[in-house]
Symmetry: C2
């Protein structure tokens, strides 16, 4: 779906009625490590969560809170994931929600809680509680950038974006921030995304829109294939734009959905690009699959393959590894129909290799962004996945921190 939008500054505080703050509470040595986002008025809330059976305490608490479809604040710390921390961890996550609610004068169940950092170590809840008070005092409509900074772990740059579009004669703004799947510190984990919007939208429609956006974006990126215990994407919609309240049947729903998907995809690409040790962003486009599920499986499996990723790092045009990965992706397709291209250089037609231009292939693989095209010629569905190459630095970052 096409829509006209405008990129605006301010991240999660770009939409009307939102404030945010990022502060240092002491979980990390010096860097910002605690963020709060707050809507001045009640807001609809929705979230999507890791499918890992081992869910961190804050995930469990937030899932419980969002069951009612309302959220007015987000509290998130970096430096400790509060995962695999037993009963104490659960009590600590609840305490984070309670402290935030008290400081803001809202209900505890209106607070989303998230954590990212070391797994299996109890969180220093007293530091977090003091930090929450300080963060709430620091809330401002210019606080988006510091909030985005406070959720970083091994990210090499902060990730935020905001766009405005017209919906029903009103200007609606969507702001977002995310952190990547960096795991540089032992046991670090997690992809987190937080989205704010001043759109008026019914709760069910908000959740439906978030799920679809997530399936096209954060669920289509991979750094190393490890699904974290702490992944979540949360959204708050406070209606301050004054548009007619959007439902799933509303003519504006499609445009809102498209805008949300757009911002989610852009952030997801930044996360993939900033994957640990990454030197290149890899985009895998699958087309003419039997179903969207088949297209997504194929695209994501190729993006995840260690052999494809190392070949791209080494700038080696190993198209056979690409076809091989499609083959074990679980997607339904006919191996004798598949065409594969790297950028504009065709590598294989109908499942068999071509004599290709090595020089052009090398040039394509030398770019900062590499696009892999896979045409299954077996249907009409398509999907795109994003990943990064697998470099020496990935091994260094994840293997040798303590040694």
């Amino acid at each position: 779906m096409d829509f006209n939008y405008q990129v605006v500054s301010g991240g999660v505080t770009a939409p009307k009625g939102f404030q945010a703050a990022g502060i240092h509470c002491g979980l990390k040595k010096e860097k910002l490590d605690l963020a709060v986002i707050y809507s001045a008025v009640p807001a609809a809330g929705a979230g999507v969560f890791t499918v890992n059976k081992v869910k961190a305490a804050p995930i469990l608490v937030t899932m419980e809170h969002l069951a009612q479809g309302q959220a007015r604040a987000v509290v998130v710390n970096s430096g400790n994931a509060n995962a695999c921390t037993g009963e104490k961890g659960l009590a600590d996550a609840r305490q984070m929600a309670r402290a935030t609610a008290q400081a803001l004068g809202i209900s505890e169940t209106e607070v989303m809680v998230a954590s990212t950092g070391v797994i299996g170590v109890p969180i220093k809840i007293d530091l977090v509680e003091q930090g929450i008070k300080e963060a709430v005092k620091s809330l401002s409509t210019a606080g988006g950038a510091s909030a985005a900074e406070a959720i970083m772990t091994t990210d090499t740059f902060k990730k935020e974006l905001a766009i405005s579009l017209e919906l029903g004669g009103r200007v609606v703004t969507i702001g977002a921030m995310a952190k990547g799947s960096g795991m540089i510190h032992p046991n670090m984990a997690t992809m987190l995304g937080f989205i704010t919007t001043d759109a008026a939208i019914e709760e069910k429609a908000l959740l439906a829109a978030l799920r679809e956006a997530n399936d096209r974006s954060f669920n289509m990126i991979t750094v190393d294939g490890d699904t974290s215990t702490n992944d979540m994407v949360g959204i708050m919609a406070n209606g301050e734009a004054g548009n007619n309240r959007i439902t799933q049947d509303h003519p504006d729903f499609g445009r809102f959905q498209a805008a949300l998907s757009h911002i989610a995809v852009e952030l997801a690409k930044l996360v993939a690009k900033d994957g640990e040790g990454a030197t290149k962003l890899v985009e895998v486009q699958v087309k003419n699959a039997r179903t969207v599920a088949d297209a997504r499986k194929a695209a994501l499996t190729v993006a995840k393959s260690s052999l494809v990723k190392t070949a791209i790092f080494g700038e080696d045009a190993n198209w056979g590894r690409i076809l091989c990965a499609v083959g074990y992706s679980g997607a339904e397709f006919d191996p004798n129909r598949v065409d594969i291209a790297l950028g504009d250089e065709m590598m294989a037609i109908n499942g068999a290799g071509l004599a290709f231009n090595e020089e052009n292939a090398k040039h394509i693989l030398g770019q900062k962004q590499v696009i892999i095209h896979i045409d299954l010629k077996d249907g009409e569905a398509e999907a795109t996945a994003w990943g990064c190459d697998l470099s020496y630095d990935y091994v260094k970052i994840n293997g040798s921190y303590r040694t």
Copy 2:
């Protein structure tokens, strides 16, 4: 099941009535690159094959041939995988079977064909044909070692083993050779295993025993999670030991099965140990799972996790990554019951971390073999998987060959 066995020399030529040869036909520059194994008398044959939808031509031909349960010869080349090679590839694989059958004076359908090496490049079939003639002339009862050498690609050592045991008052021998999932050359792939035995065993029982052995061994190892287009394990049983023919109901079936599983597991461990860039063999033992399928999923997913593998390379006791991988393995379990140990050092009980002895953990991770124990405390099933660590050399081998 317990059984007494004796390790004997000779690899695939240890069982009575088998000859083999490994020669250089020219697909590689200097190294041996073509092997033939031959049974002097007709033999039952069975195979298990890659589940990749993209199957190399020799796999397709061998699947067709083994449909009748008979096999008397194996021909296998290294240096070219004959995968993604279209119609010509299929004709070439058939030609390999035909040339072998003609040279040996047996039926074409009694020949198993396998290839390993570069994907997507047509095989030089004239070199292979000449090589087959030479190999057949060189067949000998001492040829097991050269055959094992001829199927190596990036393997750093050849993998063969033979054992003898008493079955029904006769000495039965099982011999085997394998090559690992080395992919050092662009597009190299493949795990291959070939097993010979002089046991008399009915075809269906042979296939059943092979499948079970394979599920416990080659299907439980992982180097990088990429399932190749060329993987296969083939077995020939020629009855020369003179034992009463084993069927699935026969009292000896269980012991034959256990012996076959034993030899397959030992070879599989050698393959995992020799994974590209590996510095350590990692064994993941899962116990008290609800079902064997759950135990296998959990064990294999942990062995495959890039984050676990890099942590072990870096000798970092990141048990959280282990629990995280169990969590996304798809296995059914209760996260609040899981115990995790590295060697004899407990890391987590009931899903929550312990204060563990860092020094002992470091000592354990410093060994050449690291055992991860995962107790799901949720049933009675168990499984073991093997893998290796993820080192700089894996990236180097797979990324920078051409550059």
